[in-house]
């Protein structure tokens, strides 16, 4: 605390290098958080452009724009980019910006690790997408074409795009693990005096569980893709039956990571929701403890249900029944969260600014993801849904409506705090309504496509699927274009706009709203005391 007395807050910002070097060398949690958010937004558009090319190809039957090989590359890299380079960095960006502010800490516990964690991301993103460029120059045959799941033996057979993706996943994994260590250490050690674990903001709780899940499961993914790498180049046979291996082993390892990954993407959003709801309902969060226990329960359950991702691969009846019931059990803690969200709204005094609109949109659409997830858990019905567009629609309700709309909620909620300016409420509402309508226009037809029997990941389809695909493509393009409003709104808000006070929202409660907007370069040099 002696530093605080010799370096007054308003001068602290003068001590860092300027220009590019500032961003390269920064160890400030806000700078790093900002970089995470910008990186995430850029990659969101990169991944979005890829899938718009795919939707354009699927607008009509027949191959119009691309070869099937290229189509397969686009779908896989779209998923990898959206999951690892758009959604996960956005959540880490939130954590960097908000956790120190919320728990009354001056910065993250490990600032240099923080810097390193971020700067691993751009090289990884380049590794993922570089094979596209190399193929244009005649080197190799493009990016990974196995879908994001890397299933062996298809991935053993694939071109060098698979090696690029394996290395990219390694680097992204290291970055995520470092971020997680930092968040855990920060939450455990740097809370303001008096902030017990059961007074910790729910956003921090959500992230804490995410961080543990990342540390528990990412090494398994790293192991799986390393085994794949040695199968490809060093003569091992982990996934080759001819050498005593088993292709299904890869699926077990992959989904041991892959299923918790869903909750890794969603828990930060679930953590954020109570803050937003409580703010715009002007009413304290309902069921704080119940929500914390639900986070923990979902975290624990998420690592024991993985095989429901490949029921069709065939497994013994007891295994089918176990994985079905354990998956269904997740609906119980999830229902507690829904109950608490709605109970927080109940008898509040609601207003519907953009963050609240996104929060309500999130609850409804994520509800569809949860309910369709419940029926997907049923092994018998899953035999029809699996590998079909029904599943595609389901997980986009989970990861777009649940994940990305959750991130948008957070961006609109905290952007005035970060910039000191209010964004355009008019554009924000326009963005919300366009997003919600076009999202449903894109994905509701995909539920029906799946039921009618259209497999996923096909570049061309039978004629009975034509109408729904055309509708879905129209929806996707409106959805994609609507996001330009989002980017423009953020840009103009960063550049200027009406000044906001420290509290920003009438009903906002919590330490982060005690600091000025934007907060000083070094926040909480004197720790607040929680009574």
């Amino acid at each position: 605390m002696s530093i605080a007395t010799t370096h007054p807050v308003e001068h602290a910002a003068d001590h860092h290098p300027s220009g590019l070097l500032r961003w390269l060398t920064t160890t400030n949690h806000k700078d790093i958080g900002t970089m995470y958010m910008i990186f995430s937004l850029i990659m969101f558009f990169v991944g979005g452009l890829m899938i718009l090319a795919v939707r354009a190809e699927l607008f009509q039957p027949g191959l119009q724009l691309m070869k099937p090989e290229f189509f397969n590359q686009l779908i896989g890299v779209h998923a990898l980019v959206m999951i690892f380079a758009a959604l996960m960095p956005a959540a880490t960006g939130f954590a960097n910006w908000m956790i120190p502010l919320m728990i009354g800490a001056p910065d993250m516990a490990l600032p240099r690790l923080n810097n390193w964690g971020f700067w691993l991301l751009p090289p990884a993103a380049i590794l993922l997408t570089l094979p596209f460029t190399l193929a244009l120059l005649g080197i190799g045959d493009g990016a990974i074409a196995t879908g994001w799941t890397f299933y062996a033996p298809l991935s053993v057979q694939g071109g060098m795009g698979v090696d690029f993706a394996i290395l990219a996943v390694h680097i992204l994994g290291i970055s995520s693990i470092m971020g997680s260590i930092n968040i855990i250490v920060t939450i455990f050690n740097m809370r303001a005096p008096g902030m017990t674990m059961m007074k910790l903001p729910l956003f921090a709780w959500g992230w804490l569980i995410t961080a543990f899940l990342l540390i528990a499961t990412l090494p398994v993914l790293a192991g799986a893709v390393t085994m794949l790498l040695t199968d490809r180049h060093f003569g091992t046979h982990f996934f080759d039956a001819a050498g005593g291996g088993d292709p299904i082993l890869f699926q077990h390892l992959f989904w041991f990571f892959g299923h918790p990954e869903v909750y890794i993407l969603l828990l930060p959003v679930w953590g954020l929701m109570p803050h937003v709801l409580s703010t715009f309902c002007r009413k304290p969060t309902y069921g704080y403890k119940a929500q914390v226990y639900s986070f923990v329960a979902i975290g624990l359950l998420s690592v024991v249900v993985w095989a429901h991702h490949f029921f069709t691969a065939g497994m013994p009846v007891p295994a089918l029944i176990y994985f079905m019931f354990s998956t269904m059990a997740i609906s119980l803690p999830l229902a507690v969260l829904f109950f608490c969200w709605i109970a927080t709204m109940w008898k509040g005094s609601m207003t519907f600014e953009t963050p609240m609109l996104f929060a309500v949109g999130f609850i409804v659409l994520f509800g569809i993801a949860g309910l369709t997830g419940l029926i997907l858990a049923d092994v018998a019905a899953d035999a029809q849904y699996h590998h079909s567009y029904f599943v595609v629609a389901h997980f986009h309700y989970a990861l777009f409506a649940g994940g990305i709309m959750g991130v948008m909620t957070g961006v609109y909620y905290w952007l005035p705090k970060w910039t000191g300016h209010m964004y355009s409420e008019k554009l924000g509402k326009l963005h919300f309504w366009l997003t919600v309508v076009s999202f449903n226009l894109t994905f509701i037809p995909q539920f029906f496509l799946g039921l009618a029997g259209m497999p996923r990941r096909i570049p061309d389809y039978a004629l009975q699927f034509a109408e729904f695909n055309a509708i879905s493509t129209v929806g996707a393009f409106i959805l994609g274009l609507s996001q330009l409003i989002f980017a423009w709104n953020i840009w103009t808000c960063v550049r200027g706009g009406p000044k906001v006070d420290s509290r920003v929202w009438e009903g906002a409660e919590g330490l982060e709203w005690e600091l000025a907007s934007p907060p000083p370069h070094h926040s909480w040099e004197t720790q607040p005391v929680i009574k």
């Binding site: 691969a313 008898k347 029809q384």
Partner: protein, 404 residues
């Protein structure tokens, strides 16, 4: 409705099915949330089921859809009511509670939890367990076996106990896919040789693969099972109604994943037996063909047929391939290299070796088991003397037979 569900828990699921059928029909119409008037182009539900499993699956699906629709409507009706009544603009003052206070509130907080527990593990769980047990019972009273082998990008069907074995590839012309000609009615869902099965017989289906993982799926059968290289997986169908049923590979298996249809002709048993006899005779005739000497023109003509079905997807009609994943045959060192060693055996990594044994870790599969002696000899001869390759030699089916 509840009656119906509980009755299906009983041991005799089939009997319960019949009893519930009428109710179920009403039920499924109600469950079609989007529309009761499904047009030809807009299917809002599973296609018509033709096996007991598919009917069971459709029933479960409809039931679950109804349950989750009710949950959705009830939960969000409460939320929307709150959003209308409890807003600042109508002057609602916020309450201060942060959890259940008093016994009644605890009761109301726990009721939804209890309802969900009941839905998960009783209402949905019990029919699901019954369905799983039925679905996985491939062996009880099975009448026959069909072996299905997935390979990039076609299906091989075998009738164990007979010599009948054939490969089924997509019949849709490439020009239709490239939009150069009008698309036919069964665009992408038509094959050269459909698999034929008898109706009313329980067919145990064994699945495997020669290269990567494929998934055999016919939506109207309600089964979908992965074909995994090096392992056998199984499922079963009992088709109740004659007809032509179409499906597709459902697991991403490489570039032509979208062009790997499944077509099943379900016919009455006498018709099936007649077809099987005819196939047996064809197999016998083909096996005999390996013993006679073939002329080069005959081999070239037969070779082109095989090439156009088995090889063209990767190596292309002009033999230029799609490098680097799928190398060119035109001017290839392997194709234009020596045919066999001085001792009459296969030279490692030679043309014959590649076609017969494939290349591990690539899409080049071993055709040893999927093509006959005649087909192998023909296609090898064809490749050596086409696309500008002028090796001039040929290999006889009898030579291939001797190499096996």
């Amino acid at each position: 409705m509840l009656n119906c569900v509980f009755r299906s828990q009983g041991a005799d699921v089939a009997a319960a099915n019949t009893r519930c059928r009428v109710r179920r029909r009403v039920f499924s119409t109600a469950a079609l949330t989007a529309s009761g008037t499904a047009g030809a182009a807009f299917n809002f539900n599973f296609p018509e089921p033709v096996t007991p499993i598919a009917r069971e699956t459709l029933h479960i699906h409809n039931e679950f859809m109804l349950i989750i629709t009710i949950l959705f409507v009830v939960v969000f009706a409460i939320m929307i009511y709150s959003m209308i009544k409890h807003r600042k603009s109508v002057g609602h003052q916020p309450a201060k509670f942060t959890g259940p206070t008093g016994k009644m509130q605890w009761f109301w907080a726990l009721v939804p939890f209890g309802i969900l527990l009941f839905i998960d593990f009783v209402l949905m769980g019990i029919p699901a367990v019954n369905a799983i047990i039925t679905m996985e019972d491939t062996q009880t009273r099975a009448d026959m076996v069909l072996k299905v082998t997935g390979m990039q990008w076609k299906w091989q069907y075998e009738y164990p106990g007979t010599d009948v074995k054939f490969i089924s590839t997509m019949a849709t012309p490439r020009d239709q896919i490239a939009n150069a000609e009008a698309k036919g009615e069964h665009y992408l869902l038509e094959v050269d040789k459909p698999v034929v099965l008898p109706v009313g017989k329980k067919v145990r289906i064994l699945l495997t693969s020669t290269d990567v993982i494929h998934t055999w799926w016919v939506p109207q059968f309600g089964v979908k099972r992965d074909a995994i290289p090096g392992f056998l997986r199984e499922t079963w169908v009992l088709i109740e109604k004659p007809g032509i049923y179409r499906g597709q590979c459902a697991e991403l298996c490489g570039k032509d994943h979208g062009f790997m249809p499944v077509v099943v002709h379900a016919v009455p048993e006498p018709e099936y037996l007649a077809w099987l006899e005819q196939k047996k005779a064809e197999a016998k005739a083909a096996a005999g063909g390996a013993d006679r000497a073939w002329s080069r023109d005959e081999l070239m003509a037969a070779g082109k047929d095989v090439y156009d079905k088995q090889c063209v997807a990767c190596h292309q009609a002009n033999g230029q391939g799609l490098p680097p994943a799928f190398p060119a045959l035109a001017g290839s060192k392997i194709v234009t290299g020596p045919l066999l060693g001085a001792d009459g055996r296969i030279i490692k990594d030679s043309h014959v070796d590649r076609v017969v044994n494939g290349k591990a870790g690539t899409a080049m599969q071993a055709f040893r088991n999927s093509l006959s002696d005649v087909e192998l000899a023909a296609v090898i001869t064809y490749e050596r003397n086409s696309f500008g390759n002028k090796v001039g030699d040929m290999i006889q089916p009898a030579q291939i037979k001797a190499l096996r």
